[in-house]
């Protein structure tokens, strides 16, 4: 019996240890950097600021001289949920809402041509994901999550080359460091191993470091038309940490999938450009996640059963006056996470977004921008949870994001 409770406890631990802390439905590493991405939603063929480091490294050739870029994206999420009981009745009477759900994605980049017209070297430091989500410990949803603090720091370096006047190539490498601290309530599955001093909250932390590469192409067959293609490798992230209040430690592995992106931008009239992006994340690598707790519990895994994830977007850019650009955009996302392994630690689903923003050259060489995006996630109705602590619920969610950035070209 002790063995059984230990096994179930390990399942309970796993629920939170390895689930990727997505901010959006699509990829593991966030893409909402820079005003063009935020407002026009389509940026891969014309990433003309420091965020080209991650959107399309080949686009660094669009930046002249030496450029410093500072940007920040803040997000606030809204969620309401009710939990199904064994009879299929929803409870409680009033929706459960998070105490807070917000994120911050700062971005700092420096790019230089070193006086050479065919070369750009850039480096950037940004949070590729950073999210704070917390529910009341006594909420009925506490079997899935109480609180989650997660961030991934990304340090990237890119070299981009002008192969011809119509073709740019960029390659980059990034160092990724992830740290998480998260908790859930004591459940029938995990209470068996909780020491009394831990109380009713099972809390863990973990961190890991890895790296990946990206390769970007930027073509300009004719002046009005730009085409971008990007491949970003996946990587295996191994996180290690403690289970607070216990003597347990864990080593947990999960895969960050590779990403394929393509985009086009067409300046179809004077002062007007239309752009579109398509992105694919190879999330099917995420079938099961494993943690090793060492002696006593050993290695355990939980099913994830992810499928591929896609997003497409389109946006319009308009230059009403010299130095001013106004953008609007739309995006639709298709999540790779199935409903039957849904957890609140990964609270997003298929969704759609609209964006609006503007960039203004306030001084020669100095651009400032602001963009806002609103995302609505599709309603989720789970009644067949396959998790050890089933989480059957009806969940609605949305998110508002605001980006501000400044770029100084010397």
């Amino acid at each position: 019996m002790r063995k059984r409770s230990t096994v179930w406890a390990s399942w309970g631990l796993m629920l939170l240890l390895v689930a990727p802390a997505m901010v959006r439905a699509e990829g593991y590493l966030a893409t909402d950097f820079g005003v063009r991405r935020m407002a026009a939603r389509a940026v891969i063929a014309h990433a003309d600021d420091g965020t080209a480091m991650t959107h399309n490294p080949a686009c660094l050739l669009l930046l002249p001289g030496t450029t410093l870029y500072v940007g920040h994206t803040a997000s606030v999420g809204a969620m309401g949920l009710r939990v199904y009981d064994a009879e299929g009745q929803l409870a409680p009477a009033q929706e459960i809402t998070p105490e807070h759900w917000y994120g911050h994605l700062p971005y700092l980049a420096a790019v230089s041509d070193f006086g050479v017209p065919w070369l750009r070297i850039g480096t950037s430091v940004n949070l590729a994901r950073a999210r704070w989500l917390e529910f009341a410990p006594t909420a009925l949803s506490n079997v899935s999550l109480v609180n989650d603090t997660a961030w991934t720091l990304r340090w990237g370096t890119v070299a981009a080359f002008r192969i011809s006047p119509k073709f740019n190539l960029g390659v980059g490498i990034s160092l990724l460091h992830t740290r998480r601290q998260w908790s859930l309530g004591a459940t029938a599955a995990n209470s068996g191993i909780l020491p009394e001093e831990v109380g009713n909250l099972l809390e863990r932390e973990g961190s890991g470091t890895s790296y990946n590469f990206n390769l970007g192409f930027h073509f300009r067959p004719v002046r009005p038309l730009e085409i971008g293609v990007v491949f970003e490798t996946g990587t295996l992230m191994e996180m290690a940490g403690d289970v607070r209040g216990t003597s347990l430690t864990h080593t947990t592995s999960f895969a960050i999938p590779f990403q394929l992106s393509g985009g086009a931008r067409w300046t179809f009239a004077e002062h007007f450009a239309l752009a579109a992006d398509v992105r694919m994340w190879h999330f099917q690598v995420h079938q099961e996640e494993r943690s090793n707790y060492g002696a006593g519990i050993g290695e355990v895994g939980i099913p994830r059963n992810y499928e591929q994830s896609y997003a497409w977007s389109t946006g319009l850019s308009y230059l009403p006056s010299p130095g001013l650009e106004v953008m609007v955009g739309y995006e639709q996302e298709f999540s790779g996470a199935p409903a039957n392994t849904y957890q609140l630690v990964d609270p997003t689903r298929d969704g759609q977004s609209v964006g609006l923003g503007a960039k203004l050259e306030v001084l020669p060489g100095l651009d400032v921008g602001v963009g806002v995006a609103q995302t609505w996630f599709d309603l989720l109705d789970i009644q067949g949870s396959a998790l050890p602590d089933p989480f059957n619920a009806k969940v609605r969610a949305s998110m508002t994001e605001v980006t501000v950035d400044v770029q100084w070209t010397m």
Binding site: I163, H282, Q284, E307
Partner: protein, 427 residues
């Protein structure tokens, strides 16, 4: 007739004879010949080297003089799988990975215009499918497949004629040769209870079954190439199907060393193929191209095998295949970024004809998608060198409806990487 015990496993292996013959999700033949195909996945409307013999014979009119051509694509296949037991649990703890899984696609061709302006001819010897895999002998997959080797080679004679400035036609006659061998372990305890394949110590009662087959066939292709306006090319190809009869030996070696031999004849069909392509020079030094290929795989609804001498009472087998049709689309961009230099990028998506319950462990072909890039260089007058890289990812396989015994219910992922090199010399 109901088969039991060893007969059922023999039946499963015989069923593999046809199914193993597809490395690609789409067609019977691997299409990755030449840097243009491998670099941008779109070649039918502008096959501008000797691989036109394979992709679109009418494209031979794009060559001039006499050209010798050599290419080689080398594939590394990656696969990881775990098997379901009768309770729906996956085994073993770690993924099963093949000991070896590789493929080759060599191509040797020669084309000439015989000094004429409108006529071209070519010959080529090539192998659209050379695929070998070996699964670990100490894993439960040994009861499904242990080794598999498939070789499909062709010798093609091709002619093309420029009918008008805007239309060219071409035709091929192909001599096909195919060789296939598959092997598996056999264990009566596993046959009685498929879950026993996960037990340790059972291997000492394993017997081994080896089956091989070979056949020759003739097929033909017809190609068209249009150039309605300068810069726009359209291509269309019809490749005939052909029935196949693989004949060869069957050998069963029991755990105590007793050997039983027979011969077998297996029939299945290579389906006909429809192909179309477009190539448009969207700007100076830029080409945007797309291909679509369709295989009429629905002709493979069942596969018939007969044995020369009965083995353990089994005289033959009719295996359901239930294939659907298959489709491949590719789109790519080519840019001449400097005199004598071209760079290409491409994307493809491929829909497999094999239904989930028919996917086998030694040939885990599902739908797939891939990316490619390539470079071609013209170092001197008649010489051209190309290099391409392809990466494909298969959609995850999650088969819990296998009809075989032992069942090949499995969950796995696969991918492959190909490196292609070609060399063309025009005299």
């Amino acid at each position: 007739m109901t088969f039991s015990g060893p007969c059922r496993v023999l039946g499963v292996l015989l069923a593999l004879l046809g199914g193993s013959a597809t490395l690609q999700a789409g067609g019977f033949s691997n299409m990755e010949f030449g840097t243009r195909r491998m670099g941008m996945f779109a070649v039918i409307a502008k096959p501008d080297d000797a691989t036109a013999i394979f992709h679109n014979p009418a494209g031979l009119v794009l060559t001039s003089g006499s050209t010798s051509y050599l290419s080689l694509a080398w594939w590394l296949v990656g696969a990881e799988t775990r098997l379901y037991d009768s309770e729906g649990a996956l085994h073993p703890e770690e993924n099963i990975v093949p000991d070896r899984a590789q493929a080759l696609n060599p191509f040797l061709g020669f084309t000439t215009d015989f000094g004429t302006r409108r006529f071209r001819a070519g010959i080529a010897a090539y192998a659209p499918n050379v695929f070998g895999t070996a699964l670990p002998i100490d894993e439960p997959t040994r009861y499904l497949a242990l080794d598999a080797l498939f070789i499909a080679a062709r010798f093609t004679t091709s002619v093309a004629y420029q009918v008008t400035d805007q239309l060219a036609v071409g035709a091929n006659v192909n001599l096909l040769t195919m060789y296939l061998s598959v092997a598996s372990m056999l264990n009566a305890s596993v046959l009685n209870n498929p879950d026993n394949k996960f037990k340790e110590g059972i291997e000492e009662y394993d017997g081994r079954l080896d089956i091989e087959g070979v056949d020759y066939a003739v097929s033909w292709d017809l190609g068209l190439l249009f150039e309605p306006t300068p810069g726009l090319r359209l291509g269309a190809v019809f490749a005939s199907g052909v029935p196949v009869e693989l004949e060869g030996d069957v050998t069963f070696t029991s755990a105590d060393g007793e050997v039983v031999t027979s011969t077998q004849k297996t029939t299945f069909a290579i389906p006909f193929t429809l192909q179309g392509g477009i190539n448009y020079e969207i700007a100076t030094d830029f080409e945007l191209a797309a291909d679509i290929r369709y295989w009429h795989y629905q002709v493979n609804q069942e596969q018939r095998t007969t044995l020369g001498q009965p083995i353990m009472g089994l005289t033959g087998l009719v295996s359901p295949r239930r294939y659907g049709n298959s489709l491949n689309i590719g789109v790519g961009l080519l840019h001449r970024f400097a005199p004598g230099w071209e760079v290409m990028v491409g994307y493809q998506h491929d829909w497999s004809p094999i239904p989930p319950e028919s996917i086998t462990v030694e040939n885990p072909n599902g739908d797939r998608h891939g990316v490619a890039t390539g470079v071609r260089w013209y170092p001197s007058g008649g010489l051209r060198v190309g290099l391409a890289l392809v990466r494909n990812w298969f959609e995850m396989i999650n088969n819990q409806e296998s009809k075989s015994n032992p069942p090949s219910n499995a969950k796995g992922v696969g991918s492959n990487t190909a490196l292609g090199l070609d060399l063309s010399w025009t005299m």
